[in-house]
């Protein structure tokens, strides 16, 4: 059956469904307003750190993996994942954890060696998923969930915020995982302002890990065999906008 014929067959099959005759729209005045209020409430909470910093932050210290993948092919410099690989990885990830990723949109992807990392989000919540030839789809999660609620970065007292609002980097959350290999991978999501063109994460004696930028965030992952030391943001001309020692980041455990 050709694609066109199959498409027609699908439309015909679903033509049996119609909205119920008594269906009417809800009174949206309050509901639409409620949505706006919610957004308005989030914006200053998110904007404060973003405006204050060159790189705001959300961190998913992640972990996992069943076996002992060596990540030998891992690269500090990400490459672009081809659309087919992204589509396959996306299906695998959402199928693996539909509760947490199904409602989020794919906002970024990158390839490091044989591994594809996807970033899902909706502006208020983020989730990461790592796929590769020797691992099951790995959803990197926030505390007890599969998605990080970006609202938790609120300076008013969310997860892992620094005490002062002029801080350069702020953790949104430190993800937890029950996976036995929870310490083999670290993945970070960092909020960035529009003037940030490049973000690197410096680690002990290793080539700096270049993060992937997209949709107001930067994200990266690496085998957790070395500690991250600093996060550095650069502008389009390569000038350093901000360098933040990781040791100055304070996590509030929840």
């Amino acid at each position: 059956m050709h694609d066109d014929d199959l498409g027609r067959a699908i439309r015909r099959a679903f033509s049996r469904f119609e909205m119920s005759a008594e269906s009417t729209l809800p009174a949206v005045g309050r509901r639409a307003g409620a949505g706006s209020t919610r957004r308005a409430r989030w914006l200053p909470r998110l904007a404060a750190p973003v405006v204050a910093l060159a790189a705001g932050a959300a961190v998913l210290a992640a972990t996992l993996l069943p076996a002992q993948p060596a990540f030998a092919s891992w690269s500090a410099n990400p490459s672009t994942a081809n659309p087919s690989a992204v589509a396959v990885a996306e299906d695998d990830c959402v199928s693996a954890d539909p509760d947490h990723l199904g409602g989020l949109r794919l906002v970024g992807s990158e390839r490091r060696g044989d591994y594809t990392m996807l970033l899902f989000g909706d502006g208020t919540a983020y989730g990461l998923c790592l796929t590769g030839p020797d691992i099951q789809p790995l959803v990197l999660a926030g505390p007890g969930t599969g998605a990080i609620d970006a609202g938790a970065s609120s300076p008013e007292g969310g997860h892992g915020t620094r005490g002062d609002q002029t801080s350069s980097v702020m953790f949104i959350a430190q993800p937890g995982s029950d996976a036995p290999i929870a310490e083999q991978v670290q993945a970070w999501v960092i909020g960035v302002t529009p003037d940030v063109a490049r973000v690197t994460i410096e680690r002990d004696g290793a080539e700096p890990t270049v993060a992937t930028l997209g949709d107001g965030v930067a994200f990266a992952w690496w085998p957790a065999d070395m500690n991250a030391l600093t996060v550095t943001a650069y502008d389009t001309e390569g000038l350093e906008l901000q360098r933040v020692p990781v040791s100055e980041m304070t996590l509030t455990e929840h």
């Binding site: 099959a13 005045g29 409602g103 989020l104």
Partner: protein, 188 residues
């Protein structure tokens, strides 16, 4: 367009407190609603698989379109706009509830004696991964272009093509498998 008391858009408009309900405004909206609500509903149903949830999401989509009509009426793709809002609403509610039934709704089950492939096809579509269902909903049910689908779903056009290709391949395989099964039964 002249509205009558029984026009569905008027029923909708009557519920929209606090909004401008001039005939011209409601008329344009009424046209969009009357022309596309079932199309949007079917598309959302493909993605969410629950008639009640789909209906609620479509209502939300049109309600927001009405509330934001000044912007939507000049949007190059108002149907896509409503569908995107409805799909987002459906998935955000679903994510909040953190559950999704793995059982297909009764409507997907073939009535006794029905020979059409429709029930089989509905079941096959609903068995696709959610991203593939979303692409099928936008691309096939609403006839949105690759670019429009990509924009609505926040995907790259290449990703839309990949999802669509996989979805159609899966559906084709399942239909062919069912054909062979029918032939086996027929020849037995």
């Amino acid at each position: 367009m002249q509205l009558t008391e029984t026009h569905p858009a008027q029923l909708i408009a009557d519920q929209l407190e606090g909004f401008d309900q001039t005939p011209a405004r409601a008329g344009s909206f009424a046209d969009l609603y009357g022309r596309s609500r079932n199309d949007v509903y079917r598309a959302v149903l493909v993605a969410v698989r629950d008639p009640h949830r789909a209906e609620d999401a479509v209502q939300e989509g049109f309600a927001r379109a009405y509330a934001d009509w000044d912007r939507v009426k000049v949007h190059p793709n108002p149907v896509g706009w409503v569908a995107r809002v409805a799909l987002n609403h459906a998935t955000s509610v679903w994510r909040r509830l953190r559950r999704e039934s793995t059982e297909l709704p009764p409507a997907a089950v073939a009535p006794e004696g029905e020979r059409s492939i429709d029930p089989l096809l509905i079941r096959a579509v609903w068995s696709l991964p959610i991203r593939q269902r979303q692409v099928v909903a936008m691309r096939i049910l609403l006839d949105q272009s690759i670019e429009q689908t990509a924009h609505a779903l926040g995907m790259a056009p290449g990703t839309v093509r990949a999802h669509l290709h996989r979805a159609l391949s899966t559906l084709r395989t399942r239909l062919e498998g069912a054909d062979h099964h029918r032939e086996d039964i027929h020849h037995a």
